[in-house]
């Protein structure tokens, strides 16, 4: 009788298949389906690309109007030559998908609150945050607006979408990107809405810090009281070197925002009123405070060639696959090159055959919270202008992997979505009902700005293109072959009264509402200034004579702008190479001022031997944040410890984290007033600590940490800072860790731990454009490709690639051109 072995063997086979075909729990996450994942014909092995693979291909696509030739250069940058504009965007979509599909899918999932669908209930709090902030709502407004009013943009985004989908359709299951196999899900169709969601995510990344900062600042103000708050979080920046040079006379404002009567009591000093506490939920990490950038342009009067040079390096989270994808697009209407966003058509930062442009974040406050009073727990009515107004209910359904759907009911009000209410709270919202009002919610034709910049021929075209730009507000720098340079801060900016929107605002009457959007003509701009350069580095764009309030000073880093302008003023006979050196410059202008200020208070004789040794290390330092310097590590640790000693006591008692004052506040106090009363440790009764005592205490505290770092061999700046470029899933094996690179916060080379120059570009506007650039990543999003992280080492070393921007005949014949992808209609 062999039936028994048959059954036993069959059960064993089926059982093993089942186990190897299941995602097994592994810590907080799950393994891939191991059998599938390991199968050389289905799993990850299929993603291991031949190192000498050819990218030649011939693709037939019925959606095309004509033929398109794509030539790939040796860095895998596609040069798209199309006979029709829409075909070019179709192919751009196709190539984005071919090299970055998973990333496009993942980023739009984050933006639209759909992570739980693939990763389970763990991600629910992030999804709820984005849903309630109105990310999907905003994308819907844009989609509807473009569909109804802008046939050219609709056709552009539709062609791009068709290109993405043409790639997805032909994608065999075994060739799915690695991450799908790891996380066990499949791509879905691309839609125009996903493009708008991606752009919403950029709005969030660059203006969404207010979504947490306004809460935190309010809590800090409530905790300290307004007077002390105003001292520690002053909006006054004495050393400011604004984007528009000081002393520029601004036009008379067309809107004069009026501060509501009684707002000093009702708004600025308002005590918090706890309402019923809702379910406390963790929020995703707030956008990085240092999301910013540098850009500048120098006119021919300052360059060796007599032609302008434009530079742009956006500072963002450093990820793999990179946010950026290089591309050249050439059609009969235009020819452009630069960094594009996988997820959106057109070139975002780049140049064309007439001019170049770049962006930095404006940092202006365009997101506010309004505190609501609901009639009852049904949240169907709220008190507004003396009557009960009806809310409308917006329902969003969050699908959750291996679990039931979660339904978000969001009460929509005059202000916007009621983000925080009885259903949703975080530790900072403290039980309040808060509606969010954000320019990001408004329909936006942002894509059209880039579409038009790609085609712009001169200054007027540039101005017309950027005038359409709404959110996130940006400083658009410009330089043309014809010799013009300019910079304009552009976006939908709220005409604010002083400190309007720094804190949560009363939402019961319209007097606290925005009183208008500043007309484009009144947005700060300069063209061809006497000094021969324009620049921005996220500092305040204007001095206090500008008639509108910009937002809390903590949104405007001070020192990078000072550094850039100081250098540009002193430079002459500039070459493209000089500009590369400036972009990668590590000089620490903050330490230049802060080190002597510290030394004024430090009493070396009274310090421990270790501390004395560290002080020596710091004073011998050359003020450059180079990777091999130790002095910067010592300086940073000492400065941080002194800040802790000075502010720590004031902020220590709060159960929730409060905002730390900006570094320049303490520095100004050290230089001005050594009897700074805040220096006293309020926890020690009957003793008044002086600033001197606190500084020396800070030095000793820092020394303990520094000695430990020294033992671990981590005193050198690059090993201390440990810059990394992380895969979007944060899986270390797919990331690049501990990169040998200097720089940091306040430095032109703004490379900190996980954040920094995400695309460096230098464009010399000679007859045949001489452009250089790179981003810390690679053109392929596939971790199994040799092109996955190609540029990272070069980027860390501060080197640049010469960008190939050529007409078709020249490019085809160029020695760096490697492959040809031919798209034909039939």
């Amino acid at each position: 009788m062999r039936l028994l072995p048959l059954i036993a063997s069959a059960v064993a086979t089926v059982g093993l298949v089942a186990v190897l075909n299941t995602q097994l729990p592994s810590g907080a996450s799950k393994t891939p389906k191991l059998g599938y994942f390991l199968s050389p014909q289905h799993g990850f092995w299929k993603n291991a690309e031949k190192v000498d693979a050819s990218f030649d291909a011939s693709i037939v696509a019925g959606e095309l109007k004509g033929n398109v030739d794509v030539y790939m250069d040796d860095r895998l940058v596609p040069h798209i030559y199309a006979d029709h504009d829409e075909d070019a965007y179709f192919v751009q979509g196709y190539l984005h998908a071919k090299f970055r599909l998973w990333q496009m899918d993942f980023q739009t999932r984050v933006a639209s609150g759909r992570l739980s669908e693939i990763a389970g209930a763990d991600k629910l709090s992030i999804d709820r945050f984005f849903r309630r902030l109105g990310m999907v709502y905003g994308a819907e407004q844009t989609e509807q607006y473009i569909n109804e009013n802008n046939p050219v943009m609709k056709a552009t985004v539709d062609a791009y979408t068709a290109g993405v989908n043409a790639y997805i359709k032909q994608l065999a299951p075994e060739n799915l990107p690695l991450e799908y196999k790891l996380m066990n899900y499949e791509p879905e169709e691309w839609t125009p809405k996903k493009t708008y969601l991606f752009l919403m995510f950029m709005s969030y990344d660059l203006t969404g810090r207010s979504a947490s900062a306004d809460l935190q600042l309010t809590n800090t103000r409530d905790y300290l009281g307004f007077d002390l708050f105003d001292k520690l979080y002053t909006n006054q920046q004495d050393s400011l070197d604004p984007i528009i040079p000081k002393g520029t006379v601004f036009a008379k404002p067309s809107i004069i925002p009026v501060k509501p009567a009684g707002s000093d009591i009702a708004y600025l000093k308002k005590q918090d009123q706890n309402t019923t506490a809702g379910k406390v939920s963790a929020s995703p990490e707030a956008p990085d405070k240092n999301n910013g950038s540098n850009n500048w342009a120098v006119s021919g009067t300052k360059t060796k060639s007599g032609r302008p040079i434009l530079c742009s390096d956006p500072h963002l989270g450093l990820n793999l696959p990179s946010l950026w994808y290089e591309v050249q697009i050439t059609t009969p209407t235009h020819s452009t090159y630069g960094a594009s966003f996988p997820g959106s058509p057109a070139v975002i930062i780049g140049f064309n055959d007439s001019l170049a442009w770049g962006v930095t974040n404006a940092g202006r406050d365009v997101l506010d919270y309004y505190e609501l009073k609901f009639k009852d727990s049904t949240q169907k009515e709220y008190w507004f202008n003396g009557t009960w107004q009806a809310t409308t209910n917006r329902q969003e359904i969050i699908k959750v992997k291996d679990s039931a759907d979660v339904v978000e009911n969001i009460a929509m009000t005059h202000w916007g979505p009621a983000m925080f209410d009885k259903f949703y709270q975080n530790p900072q919202s403290k039980g309040r009902n808060l509606a969010v009002k954000w320019t990001g919610h408004n329909a936006s034709t942002g894509v059209e700005t880039f579409y038009k910049l790609n085609r712009a021929k001169n200054f007027d075209d540039y101005l017309a293109a950027i005038s359409l730009w709404k959110c996130p507000g940006q400083n658009f720098v410009f330089a043309s072959k014809s010799g013009d340079i300019a910079i304009k801060q552009q976006g939908s900016f709220v005409a604010r009264w002083d400190r309007q929107g720094d804190f949560l605002m009363p939402g019961q009457d319209s007097s606290y509402d925005w009183q208008g959007i500043i007309p484009n003509e009144e947005n700060p701009m300069i063209k061809n200034p006497e000094r021969g350069f324009v620049s921005s580095a996220n500092q305040k764009s204007v001095d206090p004579s500008y008639p509108y309030y910009l937002g809390t000073a903590s949104s405007f880093p001070l020192y990078r702008g000072i550094s850039v302008n100081k250098r540009l003023r002193s430079m002459d006979q500039i070459t493209a190479e000089d500009m590369q050196h400036l972009q990668t410059d590590n000089y620490n202008v903050f330490a230049e001022v802060a080190r002597p200020a510290l030394m004024k208070f430090i009493e070396p004789n009274k310090l421990s031997p270790d501390a004395q040794r560290m002080i020596k290390e710091m004073t011998n330092w050359n003020l450059y944040n180079n990777g091999n310097e130790k002095g910067i590590t010592v300086f940073k640790m000492i400065w941080d410890s002194v800040e802790d000693a000075v502010w720590g006591d004031e902020l220590a008692g709060s159960p929730i984290p409060l905002t730390k004052p900006e570094a320049y506040v303490l520095l100004d106090q050290m230089n001005k007033d050594s009897n700074f009363s805040v220096a006293d440790d309020i926890r020690t009764k009957g003793k008044v600590e002086t600033l001197k005592e606190q500084v020396n205490l800070g030095v000793e505290n820092a020394t303990k940490k520094l000695v430990a770092l020294e033992k671990d061999g981590k005193l050198k700046w690059a090993s201390f800072k440990a810059t990394r470029v992380s895969h979007l899933t944060k899986i270390p094996a797919l990331s690049r860790l501990n990169l040998p690179i200097g720089g940091g916060v306040n430095i032109v080379n703004a490379t900190s731990e996980a954040h920094g120059p995400s695309w460096r570009m230098v464009v010399h506007l000679t007859d045949e454009i001489e452009a250089y650039g790179l981003y810390p990543g690679g053109q392929s999003g596939n971790p199994g490709s040799p092109y996955y992280d190609t540029f990272i080492d070069y980027w860390a070393a501060g080197k640049y690639y010469r960008l190939l921007f050529l007409p078709k005949e020249k490019l085809v014949a160029h020695e760096r051109t490697k492959w040809h992808i031919q798209f034909t209609k039939a």
Binding site: L6, V17, Q41, H42, K50, V51, P173, E174
Partner: protein, 123 residues
């Protein structure tokens, strides 16, 4: 003597058939990754070997197939991906361990599916 020789030929043919059919059905990415279980099962019924030999021929057929495929792919890729995956799994970045595990999975499942087939005739 003759019998043993033909048994040996049968054994080798079984291995080759397992590998060949396993590879052929694996080309179809829409079919599940474990489709070779079915081909092995059928081959085993047709070849009618003793359970032990049947297991071994199925195991070697798929195990060697997966070993060779993984080796070829990995060599052409300069271990770029295998080292990363061997850090995720976690195999301390050893691509050799990853290749061995890959072929062991093929070996076990290939063997079990052929073994099951061998009992069909005998039962």
């Amino acid at each position: 003597m003759k019998n043993i020789a033909s048994e040996n030929i049968k054994f080798i043919v079984s291995i080759l058939l397992s590998a060949l059919m396993g590879y052929a059905i694996g080309i179809y990415g829409n079919l599940p990754w474990w489709s070779f279980v079915v081909t092995n099962f059928i081959i085993s019924i047709a070849m009618n070997q003793k359970p032990g030999k049947s297991f071994l021929s199925g195991a070697l057929g798929i195990g060697l197939l997966w070993l060779v495929l993984a080796l070829v792919i990995d060599t052409q890729n300069n271990h770029i991906l295998s080292i990363k995956v061997a850090n995720i799994l976690p195999l301390k970045g050893s691509y050799i361990a990853l290749i061995i595990i890959t072929s062991v999975v093929g070996f076990l499942l290939g063997g079990l599916s052929s073994l099951t087939g061998s009992f069909v005739r005998k039962s």
